[in-house]
C-alpha cells in the first residue's frame, strides 16, 4: 500500500445539547465521533459500517469539514484541514468530494444536469467556458449516461440514474478521494448492483480512494479493500474486508455479521444466530468502559471500567476489545 492520502488522528466531533429558549444552558454533549484514527491509501476503498446513530455519517461530514472538528486532526496529503483557513479548506475540497444517500434530495431540482455538472467546473475555474460542454459530456459518459440527456432535469431520471449524476458531479473536479454516504441504500437490488459496479470501476480507472459508508455488510464486503466497524462513535474493529467479515473478532462485529439474513434457506434455518439484547445505547450518556458491554455476551467486570483501545494485531487487523484473543 502506498503512502496514505488521508490521515485521521484521534478525531472527535461532539455536539452540544442546549436547552431553554433565551438562556441556552448547556446540558450535555452528543459524542457522535469520539476518538477515531484512520488512514486511507491512494486508490483504496475503505468500507465504514455500523448501525444508525453510530456516528458514521458524522465522521464522513467531519472528513469533508462540513461540521467542525472538536479535537484531533484530519490531514489530506499533508495539508491539515482542521487548522486550515477557510480558503485553504476550500482549495482542498477540490480533491475530496461527497456522494449522498438520497439522490432525490441531493440534486437541485431546478438545475439541468448540465448546470449541475458545470457548476463545480466554473467555481474552480478548471477550464475555459467554451470547453465546459465537452467536459460535461465526457463526465456523463464516464458514469454511463448518454450526453444527449444534458438538458434534462433530475425529475426526468430514475433513482439509479440520479445517483449516477451525483457521482458525475463528485468526479467533475477529478478528486483524489470520494466519501460516499450510503450511496446505494435508497436503491433497489438490481439498480444497486449497477452503481456498485460503476464505483468499483471508477476507483480502478482513476486510482481514486473511496470511503464507502453503508449498513449492509454484504455490499461493503463486495466493494471494499478494508473495513472499519463503528459502534457509538468509536472504531471497534478494522482490517481487510474479507477477514473482518468472514472471521470477525470483536463481539459486536460477530453479532452484526450473524444478524444478516443470508439468501440461502438451508443454512439460514440451521445456523446459530447471535441475537443482541436491547438497542444501541444513546451517544449522550454512553455506558462507561467499553460502550458495547451492556449488550455483549462476553462482558466481564473489567469491561465496565476501562475503555479498550484499538489494538493492532496480525494481518493488518485491529480490534478494540480487552478480551481479544481469549474469546
Amino acid at each position: 500500500m502506498s503512502s496514505p492520502i488521508l490521515q485521521l488522528t484521534d478525531v472527535k466531533t461532539h455536539f452540544p445539547i442546549n436547552q431553554g429558549l433565551i438562556f441556552r444552558r448547556h446540558v450535555g454533549t452528543v459524542k457522535a465521533v469520539d476518538g477515531v484514527s484512520l488512514s486511507v491509501a491512494r486508490g483504496e476503498v475503505l468500507g465504514l459500517v455500523g448501525e444508525s446513530g453510530c456516528g458514521k455519517s458524522t465522521l464522513a461530514r467531519t472528513i469533508m469539514q462540513l461540521v467542525p472538528t472538536t479535537a484531533g486532526t484530519v490531514v489530506l496529503e499533508g495539508r491539515n484541514l482542521t487548522t486550515g483557513s477557510l480558503q485553504e479548506v476550500r482549495d482542498v475540497r477540490r480533491d475530496m468530494q461527497m456522494v449522498f444517500q438520497d439522490p432525490y434530495a441531493s440534486l437541485n431540482p431546478r438545475l439541468t444536469v448540465f448546470d449541475t455538472l458545470a457548476e463545480p467546473l466554473r467555481v474552480h475555474g478548471v477550464c475555459p467556458d467554451a470547453e465546459i460542454p465537452a467536459r460535461v459530456g465526457k463526465l456523463m459518459e464516464r458514469v454511463g449516461l448518454a450526453a444527449r440527456f444534458m438538458q434534462k432535469y433530475p425529475h426526468e431520471f430514475s433513482g439509479g440514474q440520479r445517483q449516477r449524476i451525483a457521482i458525475a458531479r463528485a468526479l467533475a473536479l477529478e478528486p483524489k478521494i470520494i466519501v460516499a454516504d450510503e450511496p446505494v441504500s435508497a436503491l433497489d437490488v438490481s439498480i444497486q448492483a449497477q452503481i456498485l459496479n460503476l464505483l468499483s470501476k471508477l476507483c480502478r480507472e482513476m486510482n481514486l480512494a473511496l470511503i464507502f459508508i453503508a449498513h449492509d455488510l454484504s455490499v461493503v464486503k463486495h466493494i471494499s479493500d478494508r473495513v472499519a466497524v463503528m459502534y457509538l462513535g468509536k472504531i471497534v474493529e478494522l482490517g481487510p474486508a474479507t477477514e473482518v467479515i468472514e472471521r470477525p473478532q470483536h463481539p459486536y462485529t460477530r453479532a452484526l455479521v450473524s444478524a444478516i439474513p443470508t439468501p440461502n434457506p438451508d443454512t439460514e434455518r440451521t445456523r446459530q444466530r447471535i441475537v443482541l439484547p436491547g438497542d444501541p445505547p444513546s451517544p449522550i450518556n454512553p455506558p462507561a468502559g467499553c460502550a458495547f458491554h451492556p449488550r455483549c455476551p462476553h462482558a466481564l467486570d473489567k469491561c465496565k471500567s476501562a475503555v479498550p483501545p484499538l489494538v493492532a494485531g496480525a494481518e493488518g487487523r485491529s480490534v478494540a476489545c480487552v478480551r481479544f484473543g481469549e474469546i
Partner: protein, 324 residues
C-alpha cells in the same frame, strides 16, 4: 379450503399522467398457518396487493378493477362494510414498514394497544389493559407495566415495531400481513423482530404474508415465496425450490445481483434497463424488455403462470417450452 384465496386481483390508479396498473391480475392461495413471502422491487405491486385485501387503497385515485379475495368464505372485496369490519383488525391484522409513523403520537401506548380489543370484543377496560400488558411482555418489552403508559416518542424504533406487533396480535388473528416490517430497522434489531414474529406465529398458529425486497429475510422465515414484477406474479414456489431451482429469468437475475456475503466476486451481475412504466400497456411478458432470453413471442404472447412442478409455477414462455 385455503384460509385466503385471491384471484385475478387488479388494482389500478387513475392519475393525471395516465392509468397505473399497480396490480395486474394476481392470484394466490394461502393455507392456515402458512408463511408466504412476497418479494419484489419497489413498484412491483407487492404492497398494493395487500393494501387491496385490507381495503386500504385510497379511492380515488385507486380502484379495484376486478378480482376476489375470499377469506374463510367471505369475499373481502365485495362484502358489506360491517362484514369487513368484523374481519379486519380482528381476524386479519397488518403491520407496516415504518414504526415511526404508524403509531399515533398523541395517544399513550396503552390506549392504542387495547383499541382493537375494545372494538372487537365485549371486554371491560380493566381486562383489556391486563391483556395488553401481557401482550407487551410477550413481545419482549422490558418493564412493560411502566412503559405501557408512555407515548410512542419515548420508544426506540425496535420497541415501536414490537408495540405494532403486539397491537396486531392482541386479537389473536388468523392472518398477519407484514409489509416490510424490518426495512427501517438496523440489522441487529431486525434479527430480534424476525425471531419475535416466528415465536408469535408458533404460539398463535396464524398464517403470515411477509412482504419484503430482501431475499435473505425470506429464506429464513417463509414456507413459500412468490416473486412479483410490474404488478404480476412471475414465479411462486416453496422457499427451498425457489432459491435452489429458480426458473424465471427475473428470479434468477434478482438472486445473481445480490452481493453474496460468502464470496467476493469481481463484477456484480446487473439487470439491464429499468423497471417498466406501469402507465403504458405491457403486452406479453413485462420483463421481456430487460430479459436476456427474450424473443419476439415474449413481447406479444399471452404469458400466464403455468405449473412447472407441484407447488412451483412460473410465467416464462421459454422456460415452459423447455428452451432455456
Amino acid at each position: 379450503m385455503p384460509l385466503l384465496s385471491v384471484s385475478d386481483l387488479r388494482t389500478y390508479f387513475y392519475t393525471r399522467n395516465g392509468v397505473y396498473r399497480a396490480v395486474d391480475g394476481v392470484s394466490f392461495d394461502l393455507e392456515r398457518g402458512e408463511t408466504l413471502g412476497i418479494v419484489g422491487e419497489s413498484g412491483s405491486g407487492k404492497s398494493v396487493t395487500c393494501y387491496s385485501i385490507m381495503g386500504l387503497i385510497p379511492q380515488p385515485p385507486g380502484r379495484i378493477e376486478s378480482g376476489t379475495a375470499v377469506f374463510d368464505g367471505v369475499d373481502l372485496l365485495h362484502c358489506t362494510p360491517a362484514q369487513a369490519r368484523s374481519i379486519r383488525g380482528k381476524r386479519v391484522a397488518m403491520i407496516f414498514q415504518d414504526p415511526m409513523t404508524s403509531l399515533n403520537p398523541y395517544l399513550r401506548i396503552s390506549d392504542q394497544l387495547i383499541e382493537p380489543l375494545l372494538i372487537h370484543e365485549k371486554i371491560s377496560k380493566a381486562d383489556a389493559l391486563r391483556r395488553g400488558l401481557a401482550m407487551l411482555e410477550a413481545v419482549g418489552i422490558n418493564d412493560a407495566a411502566r412503559r405501557i403508559n408512555l407515548y410512542p416518542h419515548e420508544f426506540s424504533g425496535g420497541m415501536r415495531q414490537r408495540v405494532m406487533i403486539a397491537m396486531a396480535l392482541i386479537t389473536k388473528p388468523e392472518l398477519l400481513i407484514a409489509d416490510e416490517p424490518t426495512t427501517a430497522l438496523d440489522v441487529t434489531v431486525q434479527a430480534q423482530i424476525l425471531e419475535l414474529i416466528k415465536k408469535m406465529q408458533q404460539e398463535i398458529g396464524m398464517a403470515v404474508i411477509f412482504i419484503t425486497h430482501d431475499l435473505g429475510v425470506v429464506s429464513g422465515l417463509c414456507d413459500r415465496v412468490q416473486v412479483m414484477y410490474a404488478g404480476r406474479i412471475v414465479e411462486t414456489a416453496d422457499t427451498r425450490t425457489l432459491f435452489h431451482q429458480p426458473k424465471h429469468p427475473y428470479t434468477r437475475a434478482l438472486q445473481r445481483s445480490i452481493p453474496a456475503l460468502q464470496a467476493k466476486g469481481s463484477e456484480l451481475y446487473t439487470i439491464r434497463g429499468l423497471p417498466p412504466d406501469l402507465s403504458k400497456p405491457l403486452p406479453g411478458c413485462a420483463f421481456a424488455a430487460r430479459c436476456e432470453f427474450a424473443v419476439d413471442r415474449c413481447r406479444t404472447g399471452n404469458v400466464g403462470l403455468a405449473p412447472a412442478a407441484p407447488g412451483h409455477a412460473h410465467a416464462c414462455l421459454r422456460v415452459q417450452a423447455g428452451e432455456i
